[in-house]
Symmetry: C2
DNA sequence: GCCTCAAATGTAAGCGTTTACATTTTTTAT
DNA sequence: ATAAAAAATGTAAACGCTTACATTTGAGGC
């Protein structure tokens, strides 16, 4: 069933049918109705591929993320998809994992499918080694590239992100002010956001004229679900002689691990150990005691990102970036 | 840059270029190399829309789910996407929410995009009212429809699911055997799987010649993140005079709520209250104490589903369904 | 009733592939 | 060297839309 069949049955030309389908003006109401009826009767749906070929778009956006099963990424993907569809766009999801080659090939795949834009969810798409980011630039030379939670300066690349630096700095200061100075900073990603958070942590110490001790900056290499691994990791640190009465974690999973650790070693929370998570995710309320956590306005970030994308696709000039601020959500793992 | 440009530069016909691109046999190695080089030089990528039009497929599968931010669904989507891509297919994600109209329109949208198949993730796509499932049948008349965690008999519909009935029945029996008889069953979805689980719960009581009390079958209407809501819900039940020493929950979030409830009311777990979750998700290890939970082999379900789909798309006859069995993962919220 | 102009509709040329079929080139057998 | 067969390549017709441009229809003013 094609537009041609419809045109025949309706006794009009295919152009008219097309106009009806696309809600074009200048179609006599009577004709319109007749065509609509025939379309309805036949349950006809225009061929999206042909449409795509003619218009050079299928209103599709590529969403790239490392791992959509990560609770935070999943939420971002969810919001983005809904916002996009609300604007008449579909989403092709690609989970790349953390390997650079996989990221590159996934991105190429999306571009070869002629998506209208690529949204990269997560700061892990920015490589430490600057040259490795060429793949992002290459993509941006073809379509608008939108980054969520990352910061990257290049034409046709837009970023929405939370000021992770400041958020962690503030959280660290709050902890320092409450009298805790042996604060462990726990992170798990070599990427932009992890490092920004670390810097925030460090700067709080500097600001207080306190020494920044490398030992207190720990990198966890397990998966995003390995709460027990985090617990073991902390236990090992503890047994290695490291003493800490505060933990600032780069995400709630790590913070959950710290909570587990505290329970295991009968540290009272927050009396003996204060813990601050990041993302304000479901994990922060699942934990016991519930996690004090930094909220980074994920939904707003997503909304802003999609809004900006729509503007860009509509011909607006693309802004460089939008930075939101984080908020410390106080719960039971801190004294304040 | 089109195939035509390449053909010109290489001094061959577009047919030959096409053959090279598609790895067709019967191309002289020398010609092949020449064409490849030109393609490489120009960074040419074939137009996917044109290809789609010619082949009537873009190797795309639609993934339909209520809410991909739900921890369990997110994981399913993740696995499915990766398996599909491993087979050369891309995924269009559509989050429908729980409204029937939205489900219908999302499904139509996917079909209008000419996906090769639709995968529906979650039992909530099966409506209680049988007539309402016509939309699934309509879809199945067009493309293979694959259901994850649901059971639906219709030509061209395939289901992979866990035997939720048996899994919950066994779990309930285990709890009954441990001497607990006032067991609350907590669920939150009107859909197929929730009801199957409920039936399993009921049948365990029947099997033990114990009365099945409606009061102990409670339906929670909050969101999939509302742990506190669950806690409040249980508190209300308790204050309403309902006594229970066991909770079997249809998912880990509900079980987490029960754990919260127990802490709040100083019930000891598992001495005063035994709790069994479902899905064996991250929440079950985030909880304290960690949840005993039913694992339903999600990754295997997904793998099986994709494998079957590939067979079907390859021309194999579609099997009806595959049923996996659940396993009780024993942790700290039960005595056994 | 006729002319002008606007509205409605039609015609046909793309869009960039794939592929059946036709043609040319190469190989093999004699 | 030649005929037959096989391999390689080319030609051109789909695939099903959109849309610029051409044509027809209709309305309004005189």
């Amino acid at each position: 069933m094609t537009i041609y069949d419809i045109s025949k049955q309706a006794g009009v030309s295919i152009a008219t049918v097309s106009r009806v389908l696309n809600g074009s003006a200048n179609v006599k109401p009577k004709t319109k109705k007749k065509v609509m009826d025939i379309i309805e009767q036949n349950g006809y749906t225009p061929n999206a591929f042909a449409r795509g070929l003619g218009l050079d778009t299928m209103n599709t956006i590529g969403i790239l993320c490392a791992d959509s099963s990560d609770i935070y990424i999943a939420k971002a993907v969810y919001h983005i998809e809904r916002f996009l569809r609300g604007c008449g766009y579909n989403s092709i999801l690609c989970c790349t994992g953390y390997d650079l080659q996989d990221k590159k090939s996934s991105l190429s795949l999306l571009l070869s499918r002629r998506v209208d834009s690529v949204i990269m969810v997560g700061s892990n798409f920015i490589e430490t080694n600057a040259e490795d980011n060429q793949y992002i630039k290459d993509a941006a030379d073809q379509v608008p590239v939108m980054l969520l939670n990352a910061d990257f300066d290049y034409p046709n690349v837009y970023c929405t992100l939370c000021d992770d630096f400041k958020a962690v700095q503030d959280a660290t200061l709050a902890l320092l002010d409450s009298g805790i100075e042996d604060i462990l900073f726990l992170y798990n990603s070599h990427s932009y956001s992890g490092k920004k958070k670390l810097t925030g942590y460090q700067s709080a110490f500097l600001q207080k004229d306190l020494p920044v001790n490398k030992q207190y900056q720990q990198f966890f290499t397990g998966t995003h679900e390995d709460i027990e691994g985090v617990c073991n990791f902390l236990t090992a640190l503890h047994e290695g002689g490291l003493e800490f009465h505060g933990v600032i974690a780069a995400d709630d999973m790590l913070a959950s691990g710290a909570v587990k650790y505290a329970r295991l070693h009968h540290c009272r929370i927050p009396e003996d150990l204060s813990i601050i998570g990041y993302n304000n995710s479901l994990l922060s309320t699942c934990c016991e005691p519930e996690l004090t956590s930094i909220d980074n306005q994920l939904e707003n970030l997503c909304s802003q990102l999609v809004k900006t994308l729509m503007g860009t696709l509509g011909g607006d000039e693309m802004p460089g970036k939008t930075i939101f601020s984080g908020t410390l959500i106080k719960r039971a793992t801190t004294k304040f």
